[in-house]
Amino acid sequence: MRKFFLTVLLVSLFAVFGFSNTLVIKGSNTLLDVAQLWVEEFSKMNPGIKITLEGAGSSTGIAALFNGTTDIANSSRWLKDSEVQKMLELKKWFAPVLVAWDGIAIVVHKNLPINNITIDQLRDIYTGKITRWNQLNPNLPNAEIVPFSRNTASGTFEVFKEKVLGDEKMSPRVRMLESSMAELETVAKTPYSIAYFGVGYVDQSVKVISVNGVMPTKQNILSYKYPLSRPLFVFVDVTKGWPEEGPIADFLRFIVSKRGQELVEKAGFVAALGQ
């Protein structure tokens, strides 16, 4: 009987300590690929830390930081005014860590004979003023434009809205998809389609076009020549001070380290530090 109780006690202690070494990361779908690489490598170096990773949109990650249901919020955008206001009301403080640079790539179906688009044309497409490709240019096919967008929880959506749409509203014709990967796959299969997502998601199955004559190359993104360049962040709650030790601190140190930033480049984004 004594042995039994001792075992139960040991198991409970292990469970308690085991669970205290956890790390929850939620947020940006754009950063999901990079975060997966970080988590894989970090887990190898720290096998005792149990990490949960979820990509459901930057807004979801920041909302989780408010609720205390995540340790780290990945975000492909800066905080919204409403979020800063909420921080002031709740007396919570979130600190950003710049982890990468990205360009929102404008992609079309591979067979579409278009190589460049202007911000004004993009706005006309996404607000529904232009609905056929030949309205953009008579040499383009007389076919309906099929526009895709990330859903409203996405940070990419927020940046696109701010940089392209301004005060204008997105047409209800625009199909909202749940992830960048879903956009990539759908554009690859859908003639006459157009979509936007982080440059890290681009592959051979779609065609990237230049915006205002500028391609989203590493140099153009870093120099901000590419009009849809943006920084990518992770946010942490520092209400009780900056994490000096423990899983959050270790993870943050890792992602800004040389190796962490190499993984950013591996995922197709531009490293924020040490390059």
């Binding site: 459901a56 949109g57 807004s59 979801t60 909302a63 409403s82 909420k86 076919a143 309906e144 099929v146 859903n151 409203t152 929880a153 809205k161 005060d167 509203k169 997105m170 209800p172 014709r173 625009v174 199909r175 909202m176 998809l177 749940e178 759908t186 299969k189 859908t190 003639p191 006459y192």
Partner: protein, 287 residues
């Protein structure tokens, strides 16, 4: 004496469960109304009258007309197509299939009805959705694809429910009808169906409720465009899809959050209307 105590305990337990169920229902209604009130007060009739669903814009707009109409379209079309198919499948299994055939098919249908909707949505998204652009249809996710997904999801459960009610009709009734010279099909569609009407109506209501409440299939296959489709191949978004995709980002107690609760309230009102209609139809059929 001992038996009496047992009986009383049983009755008390049953009473508690019924009261709990009723309380839960009222609780859901109470919270839906409570959380919807800010949106109702602030947006008013525009919630129903406007198509402008711009919850994250400045200024935000919360016109749900398109979302509500889309939910009605999906439910009406879905139920109108699913129920007859399920009914004739059930008639076949009830009266025409051999015992072995019936048992195998029934097992299979029961198994199909238990498949999670997300699996159906994923399979259709991966294999059927890319077919549309090849046929010259612009939108790979659309109303038609969502309906096809819903058919696969609801036909099995609807068939099982209708079959169950047909099987519960006493055999004597059918034998009497046959003895009077009625052909089997006529017996099953007229006599058996009439006798099984409460169960069949119940199956129709449950099917409609399942369709109106279905989320993942319409979210992944519907195309996510907050507009009323002009044709079957246009993309669309329903109330459930809006709730599922937007609730995680809607700040608690914001107007967006409240508007999504209002969408939930509209959905539960739909379910109540279906239920009351079926009760009314049953009463009429009994007269």
């Amino acid at each position: 004496m001992h038996r009496e105590i047992k009986d009383k305990t049983r009755k008390a337990l049953m009473g508690i469960s019924s009261i709990t169920a009723i309380a839960a229902l009222f609780g859901i209604y109470y919270y839906l109304v409570k959380e919807s009130l800010p949106a109702i007060r602030s947006v008013g009739a525009e919630l129903f009258l406007s198509d402008q669903w711009y919850p994250v814009w400045e200024p935000a707009e919360f016109g749900m007309r398109a979302l509500i109409i889309n939910s009605i379209i999906v439910t009406a079309l879905g139920t109108l197509i699913v129920v007859p198919i399920a009914y004739f499948m059930a008639i076949y299994l009830h009266g025409f299939a051999s015992k072995k055939e019936k048992s195998v098919i029934r097992r299979l249908i029961e198994y199909l009805s238990g498949i999670p909707s997300v699996i159906i949505a994923f399979v259709f998204l991966t294999y059927l959705s890319p077919v549309f652009p090849k046929l010259g249809i612009y939108s790979p996710q659309n109303l038609l694809l969502a309906l096809i997904g819903l058919f696969f999801l609801t036909i099995p459960i609807s068939t099982v429910l209708i079959l169950e009610s047909l099987d519960n009709v006493p055999r004597e009734l059918e034998e009497a009808s046959a003895a009077l010279g009625a052909l089997p099909l006529k017996t099953y569609t007229r006599i058996t169906t009439k006798a099984a009407l409460p169960g069949v109506l119940n199956a129709i209501v449950l099917t409609a409720n399942r369709i109106v409440g279905e989320t993942i299939v319409v979210l992944l296959l519907g195309g996510g465009a907050a507009m009323v489709p002009r044709k079957l191949t246009d993309p669309m978004k329903t109330l459930t899809a809006a709730i599922a995709s937007e609730m995680p980002e809607a700040a608690r107690f914001s107007l967006h959050y409240s508007a999504l609760f209002f969408a939930g309230l509209v959905l539960i009102i739909f379910s109540t209307i279906f239920e009351l209609t079926s009760v009314a139809l049953l009463r009429r059929s009994r007269k």
